[in-house]
C-alpha cells in the first residue's frame, strides 16, 4: 500500500475528530510571544477563526494523532470494528501542521486527541511528545488542549498538564450501564479516578504560598463530553451526571453532543438526524445550573426530560408563577436571574441602571433581547402585568416561534 500523503492523513484524522464538540480556546492564563523565540498568545477570550457550515466555531486544529484504536465503543467512528480508512500522523507532522496553521493565523492552537494504540501509556506518551515539542523546541505559546487517556499512568497525566492549557477526558455516556453496554473497554471508575487526579493537580497548582511557584497545571481546567441520544438516558439523568462532574471534579465545561450519524455505524445505535434541539435545551439547563443559581432538581426531575418547545427557565417560571411578577426596581439579583428573558448581562446592567433612575418598560426593552417573554413576569415603574402572569394561555403567548435547528 502506498504511504498516505500528508493531505490525505489530515483529511482522515480531522474527519475522525469532528465528533468532539469542544473547540474552546478561552480561559487560560494570559501570555504572549514578546521576548520569546517563537509565536503564540492567549489573552483570555478565545477566537473563532472560521465557522463551518454546521455553525460550529473553528478555533483549534482539532485532530487525532491516529484513528487506529483497540477499543470498540459502539458510538465512535474510530472503533476497532468500523470499516473506515485509517491513518497515523508522526509527532513531527503534527508539530509542523500546528505551527504552519498558527503562523498563517488560521487557528488559536492545537486540540490533540487519539485512538488508543497499544495501550494508554504509549498513546499518551506520543501525544505528550507533540505538546512537549511545541512548547520546548519551538517556544510555542498558543493554546493546547490534550485529550487524556484515563488508563495512562498518573505521572504522564501530570506531564501532559504542564504543557496543555486544557485537558479533557470524555465520559461520553451519561449512564454507567450504557457505558458498560456500548463501550465495553471503558471503565467509568478509571475515568473518575483520572478526573479526580486532574482536579487534585489543578488545585495543588493553584495553592498559594508554594515554594518556587510550580508551573500551573492545565490553567484552562478540564472538560468532558456527553453524547446525547445514543442511549436511553433521560435529560434528568444527563444533568445529574453533569452536576456530579461539576461538583466532584471542578470541570469548566460539560459538552453535550447530539449523537449524529457516522459513516459505517454500529447496529446498536439509532440512525437518525441528531437531536439538536435537545442538545440546545441541555446547554440552556447547564447554564442555569452554572450561572443562574438553579439546582438541577428545580429544572428537571431525574427521570424527566426537558420541554423541547420552551426554554428551561421559562418552563420553571410557568411552574412557579407564585414567585412572579418581579419588581425590576427592587428585586435582588438572584430573583432577576430567575426571570425569563433576562440574562446575566442584562441583569447586571439593570442593576447598574436602577441606581441612576427608575426603570421603565422601555429601558428593559433596550437592555433585554425582546419584551414578549419578560413582560408577564415583571413590574416596572410604568408597567404591571396584572392578571397576565396567571393567565391560563400564557404558555402559548410567551413560547418562542418554533425554530428548525
Amino acid at each position: 500500500m502506498a504511504p498516505l500523503s500528508l493531505k490525505r492523513k489530515l483529511a482522515i484524522l480531522s474527519d475522525a475528530a469532528k465528533y468532539d464538540a469542544s473547540c474552546a480556546s478561552s480561559g487560560s492564563s494570559g501570555r504572549n510571544s514578546l521576548g520569546g523565540k517563537g509565536v503564540g498568545s492567549t489573552e483570555g477570550m478565545g477566537i473563532c477563526h472560521a465557522y463551518a457550515p454546521d455553525g460550529r466555531c473553528i478555533s483549534l486544529l482539532k485532530i487525532l494523532l491516529t484513528n487506529f484504536c483497540i477499543y470498540d465503543c459502539a458510538y465512535c467512528v474510530n472503533r476497532v470494528s468500523s470499516n473506515i480508512p485509517r491513518a497515523r500522523f508522526t509527532v513531527q507532522e503534527v508539530i509542523d501542521l500546528t505551527l504552519g496553521f498558527y503562523k498563517r493565523n488560521y487557528i488559536e492552537g492545537l486540540f490533540l486527541s487519539s485512538g488508543i494504540i497499544r495501550n494508554g501509556d504509549y498513546t499518551l506518551e506520543e501525544m505528550v511528545r507533540v505538546a512537549r515539542g511545541l512548547r520546548q523546541d519551538h517556544d510555542f505559546r498558543g493554546y493546547i488542549h490534550l485529550k487524556l487517556i484515563p488508563e495512562a499512568s498518573p505521572a504522564l497525566v501530570l506531564e501532559a498538564g504542564l504543557y496543555a492549557d486544557r485537558v479533557s477526558i470524555n465520559i461520553e455516556l451519561p449512564k454507567d450501564e450504557s457505558l458498560l453496554a456500548l463501550a465495553p473497554q471503558k471503565d467509568v471508575g478509571v475515568i473518575k479516578k483520572a478526573m479526580g487526579g486532574v482536579r487534585y493537580a489543578i488545585d495543588e497548582g493553584r495553592e498559594k504560598g508554594r515554594r518556587a511557584a510550580p508551573k500551573r497545571f492545565a490553567p484552562a481546567g478540564q472538560s468532558t463530553q456527553l453524547i446525547i441520544g445514543a442511549d436511553t438516558a433521560s435529560d434528568g439523568e444527563i444533568l445529574q451526571r453533569s452536576e456530579r462532574l461539576y461538583g466532584g471534579y471542578g470541570l469548566r465545561r460539560v459538552y453535550y453532543s447530539a449523537f449524529s450519524p457516522i459513516p459505517d455505524s454500529s447496529k446498536a445505535l439509532p440512525l437518525e438526524r441528531p437531536p439538536l434541539m435537545r442538545e440546545h435545551r441541555l446547554y440552556q439547563a447547564d447554564w442555569l445550573m452554572r450561572f443562574y443559581g438553579f439546582e438541577r432538581q428545580e429544572i428537571v426531575g431525574e427521570a424527566a426530560n426537558l420541554d423541547l418547545a420552551i426554554d428551561p427557565k421559562l418552563a420553571w417560571a410557568l411552574e412557579n408563577r407564585g414567585r412572579f411578577p418581579i419588581d425590576v426596581n427592587r428585586a435582588d439579583r438572584e430573583a432577576l436571574l430567575r426571570t425569563p428573558g433576562l440574562g446575566v448581562k442584562t441583569v447586571d446592567r439593570l442593576i447598574a441602571l436602577r441606581r441612576q433612575k427608575a426603570i421603565r418598560l422601555e429601558d428593559v426593552k433596550r437592555l433585554a433581547r425582546g419584551l414578549s417573554k419578560v413582560k408577564p413576569f415583571i413590574v416596572t415603574a410604568d408597567w404591571t402585568p396584572g392578571a397576565l402572569t396567571d393567565a391560563a394561555g400564557l404558555r402559548g403567548t410567551v413560547a418562542e416561534q418554533p425554530r428548525l435547528l
Partner: protein, 474 residues
C-alpha cells in the same frame, strides 16, 4: 461655523486636544464641522482662544474609553457625537452611565461594531508566506469593516512577536519587523501575495471538520458574514459543502452496518474492578480490593475507594471516619485539611506516621452536592457496619498493639458500640482481640470548633492521646 481638522480618521489625540480647546472657548456642538484626514493646521480659521471665564473640566474615564472605540467607527458623524457628549457631560457627569440616553446609547451602539470589527480582524486575517524572502516573512490582505488597523495591530505583534509580517488594507498597513511596529498608508490588493501552499491543507481541514448531519447555515453566517468571505481562502468551499450535506447525511443513514473489520479481533478484553470475595490473603490484596467494594451503595457517587496506608507491621493503627473531598480525589487517607491537622498533632506527639497504619472506618466518600461543592455527610450505622468487614481484616492482618479511633464514627467501628469521646479519651480501653484501644477527637472536628481557646484545648488533648497511644504501643 468652525471646521475642525484631524490628522486621520482615528486621530483620537487630535480630537481630544481640539475638543478641549473648543469646549473651553465655549463653541457649541452646533457650531463645529469635523473633518478627518487633512494636513497642516488643525483649524482653518485659527485656534479658538479659550473664553476668559471658561471653567476647567475633566471627562469621566468611562467616556474616554468609549470615545476611543467610537472614533474607529466609519460614520463621519462620530466626531460631532463625541463632542456633543463631552459638552453635555460637563453639566451632567453621571450622564455616561445612563445607557438609555439617546446620545449615550448611540455612542455605545457605535462602539459595538468597532469592537466586533477588531475581533473579526483578529480572527479573519490570513497570512501568506512571501516566497523566497529571508528571513521568513508573511503578509496578509484584509478589508476591515471599520478603522481598526491601528487599534488591532498590537494584538498581532503580541501573538507573532517572533515573526516578520505586514497586514495590508485599503486604508492603512501595519508592519512588524521583529522589533518595531510601523504604519503606512493603504495599498491595493495586488501588493499582497496571491497564494500560499498551506491554504490547500487549510481547506482540507475546513471541509473535513464540517459535520454534514448538523447543517446550520444561518449560525455560520451570523458569525462569519459573507462580506468577509472574499479574503478567506476556505470560504470558496462553502456552497458545495452546503449543497452536498443532505445527500451525504442520507447516505450515512441509509448505509447498512457492515461486517466488523479484521481489526476487531484485536479488541482488548475489558479490565474491571474485581469484587473481593472471601478472606483477603494479604494486606496488598486487601488494599487492592477496596476500590471494587460494593458492600454498600456509597461507591456509586465516590471517585474511588480509599484504602488504608502505612506499615504492614505497624504497632499503632489509626482509624478515621471516612475519606473527604481531597482524599477521594487523591485515593489516599488524611491528605486534606484534616490530614494537615493530623500530621501536625503527630509531629507534636513525636509519632512517626510512616511507622503506623492509617485507615478509615468507611472507605468511600459520603457526601451531598451543594451547588458546585461536595459536602461531607456522616455515614450511617449500616454503612459503618458494611465497611467494618474491611477494618476487621485490616486489624487481623496487621495485628497492631494499639488502635486509635479518631472521632465517634471510628469509635463505633472499632469498639462496636457508641463510645462518647469526652468521657472515654485519655486512657487505654481493652479490646477483645488483645489490642488496646484509645479514643480521641477527629482532626476535622477541631477544624470546626469556632472558639479559638476551645480549639487549642482540643488540639492539646489530641496530642496527649496520640502520645499515650504511641507509648502504649512501644
Amino acid at each position: 461655523m468652525r471646521i475642525a481638522r484631524l490628522a486621520g480618521p482615528t486621530d483620537f489625540e487630535g480630537w481630544r486636544k481640539t475638543a478641549r480647546a473648543l469646549r473651553l472657548a465655549g463653541v457649541t456642538p452646533g457650531e463645529v464641522v469635523w473633518a478627518a484626514g487633512g494636513e497642516g493646521e488643525l483649524f482653518a480659521d485659527g485656534d479658538p482662544a479659550p473664553a476668559a471665564d471658561a471653567p476647567a473640566f475633566t471627562a469621566p474615564r468611562a467616556f474616554v474609553d468609549l470615545a476611543q472605540e467610537v472614533i474607529c467607527h466609519r460614520d463621519p458623524e462620530r466626531f460631532n457625537l463625541l463632542y456633543r457628549l463631552l459638552w453635555r457631560l460637563q453639566d451632567q457627569p453621571a450622564l455616561i452611565q445612563d445607557i438609555t440616553d439617546p446620545d449615550v446609547a448611540r455612542a455605545r451602539e457605535m462602539a459595538k461594531p468597532v469592537a466586533r470589527a477588531s475581533h473579526k480582524m483578529k480572527a479573519f486575517v490570513r497570512f501568506r508566506l512571501l516566497p523566497g524572502v529571508e528571513p521568513e516573512t508573511y503578509a496578509a490582505w484584509f478589508e476591515p469593516m471599520h478603522h481598526v488597523v491601528e487599534k488591532t495591530a498590537p494584538f498581532f505583534v503580541r501573538r507573532f512577536a517572533g515573526m516578520r509580517f505586514s497586514i495590508l488594507t485599503p486604508e492603512a498597513c501595519a508592519h512588524w519587523d521583529g522589533d518595531t511596529l510601523r504604519f503606512t498608508p493603504g495599498v491595493s490588493r495586488d501588493a499582497a501575495p496571491a497564494d500560499d501552499l498551506l491554504e490547500d491543507f487549510w481547506r482540507t481541514y475546513y471541509a473535513s471538520i464540517f459535520n454534514p448531519a448538523r447543517l446550520k447555515v444561518k449560525a455560520m453566517q451570523a458569525e462569519m458574514p459573507k462580506k468577509y468571505w472574499r479574503n478567506l481562502p476556505e470560504a470558496r468551499l462553502i456552497p458545495d459543502l452546503i449543497a452536498s450535506a443532505a445527500g451525504r447525511t442520507a447516505a450515512m443513514v441509509a448505509q447498512a452496518p457492515t461486517e466488523p473489520s479484521r481489526h476487531a479481533a484485536k479488541a482488548t478484553k475489558p479490565v474491571r474492578d474485581v469484587v473481593l470475595e472471601g478472606t483477603p490473603p494479604s494486606l496488598e490484596a486487601l488494599v487492592a480490593g477496596v476500590d471494587g467494594c460494593r458492600r454498600c451503595p456509597l461507591w456509586k457517587d465516590a471517585t474511588q475507594g480509599v484504602p488504608g496506608e502505612g506499615s504492614a507491621t505497624a504497632r499503632l493503627m489509626f482509624v478515621g471516619e471516612q475519606p473527604g473531598d481531597q482524599e477521594d480525589l487523591a485515593g489516599r487517607p488524611f491528605v486534606g485539611p484534616a490530614g494537615q491537622v493530623f500530621d501536625k498533632a503527630l509531629a507534636e506527639a513525636g509519632v512517626p506516621r510512616e511507622q503506623t497504619y492509617v485507615t478509615n472506618a468507611v472507605k468511600h466518600f459520603k457526601h451531598e452536592l451543594r451547588g458546585k461543592k461536595r459536602l461531607h455527610k456522616t455515614p450511617v450505622q449500616s454503612e459503618i457496619s458494611a465497611c467494618r468487614w474491611w477494618v476487621d481484616h485490616e486489624r487481623r492482618l496487621i495485628r497492631p498493639r494499639v488502635i486509635v479511633a479518631l472521632g465517634a464514627t471510628a469509635a463505633l467501628s472499632v469498639f462496636g458500640k457508641a463510645t462518647p469521646i469526652a468521657a472515654n479519651r485519655g486512657r487505654a480501653i481493652q479490646l477483645p482481640d488483645q489490642a488496646q484501644g484509645v479514643v480521641t477527637y477527629h482532626p476535622s472536628f477541631l477544624l470546626r470548633v469556632p472558639d479559638a481557646e476551645a480549639k487549642e484545648q482540643g488540639f492539646k488533648a489530641l496530642v496527649e492521646d496520640l502520645a499515650l497511644a504511641w507509648k502504649l504501643a512501644a
